[in-house]
Symmetry: C2
Subunit: 256 residues, 2 copies
């Protein structure tokens, strides 16, 4: 007989606009209190990358960026603003694919992603003038958020920082975890048995990516966006691993 | 002020072992009734591919397969059973990558995936003797399940058929939708505005993949597997699209 398994996701209501230096954990705790929600130790809070970057002051005025010769040439190929391409190159270790309207890079964090994760939507100011970079170290951001929420509430929950990634081969974006603290970013099932007692073939599950995708369903992308999601009832109890564990080493990768 | 948004996922308890010819919709309705659960029109039922394939009789005895010369050579490269490789080739349009322990193909359905989705875990019989192929047409399977559930309950819900896929660049598998009926496999946000009233840059969301990933968290991979998940409270109301809409046309793909 299988045990009951239920999971609940809840978007925090009326989360304020976030600006550089804001206390995201404080905003979160205030939003929870407004709705009479008490955190539990097995809860996960999923934060949209965008508000973490904003709170950490990762906004850049594109007008201040001087594009290099390489950025200008690449901008011509990919049909993007050379100043934006300059920012993308500064954030990246190398270019994975460049084509009209597509620039996929290896971010210095190891993430393979479009435009080094630099976003110009949902950013204040005239269109195209401001760019928002990823947090400097999203696993560290997740750890800090986790500690600050614990300090404010007495409850130590898990924290995931999510972003939306496109994929090769499949249409559309899905939520992925770029930061993770207090939670297993990957679940290693090696040693577990299948329904008939044999070792499982699929042995590693991208647990934090699946949580980020689930949260993304409620977050939305548009003007109604809800940037913080409370996830309750996760069945997995597994060793904590940061989101860095989700990065495939380039030596094991057949597609870069 | 943002409206409340909550989503609830529930694994159906004590789902029986499925065999060829079984009535999955009937099993599902019986499991719902055991737990006093009433379906609602906005619900989504997510079925693990494995039980759909079993019910559709897609199990094959590997001992009956005669490998071709091509399968034998490829089996040497990828270090797999030549008979399994023969089955993979029969299910595929072409090979995308072959390396030791890795065989990624374009399935005849258009899915780019490892081993053409052929699974040898959680299948009855001696180890390695039985292989389970994908459903012949998972979108059609989803439509049939949806119709049969509606006939049994009077309630027309959405149905997603999920599988676990590895990804280039990232470690671990995530749930994806290989079949979808009565639901938007992709959400097209073109025309919607961001928080500051400008057009959104990320315009297509892989909605059914995110739902499949969320369901996968509760399903598990091992002996406790729960193959049917009820998802309640999805915020999106959007035109229905089959899972085929999630397949990136090869002409737009930079990675195959």
């Amino acid at each position: 007989m299988t045990s009951a398994a239920e999971m609940h996701l809840l978007a925090l209501r009326d989360f304020p606009q976030v600006e550089s230096g804001d206390d995201l954990a404080g905003f979160t705790v205030a939003a929870l209190r407004r709705d009479d929600l008490q955190l539990r130790p097995d809860d996960v809070l999923v934060f949209a990358q965008k508000i973490v970057s904003k709170a950490e002051g990762r906004q850049i005025d594109v007008a201040t960026v001087l594009p290099s010769e390489q950025a200008r040439e690449l901008a011509h190929t990919v049909r993007k603003d050379p100043r934006l391409v300059e920012l993308i190159l500064r954030e990246s270790r190398r270019i994975v694919r460049a084509a009209p309207d597509v620039l996929i890079v290896e971010h210095r964090l190891g993430l393979i992603m479009a435009n080094a994760g630099i976003d110009q939507s949902n950013v204040a100011g005239p269109e195209g003038q401001c760019a928002l970079l990823l947090p400097l170290d999203p696993d560290a951001s997740a750890r800090r958020l986790r500690e600050r929420v614990a300090a404010l509430t007495g409850c130590t929950v898990a924290v995931i920082i999510s972003d939306s990634f496109g994929r090769p081969w499949r249409v559309g974006t899905v939520g992925v975890a770029i930061g993770c603290a207090g939670c297993a970013a990957t679940l290693d099932l090696r040693g577990q048995a299948d329904l008939f007692g044999r070792p499982l073939r699929v042995t590693i599950v991208a647990h934090a990516d699946e949580i980020a995708s689930a949260a993304s369903i409620l977050m939305g992308q548009a003007s109604e966006a809800r940037p913080v999601i409370l996830v309750r009832g996760l069945p997995a109890r597994a060793p904590h691993r940061p989101a860095a564990a989700l990065l495939r080493p380039s030596g094991e990768d057949l597609f870069r």
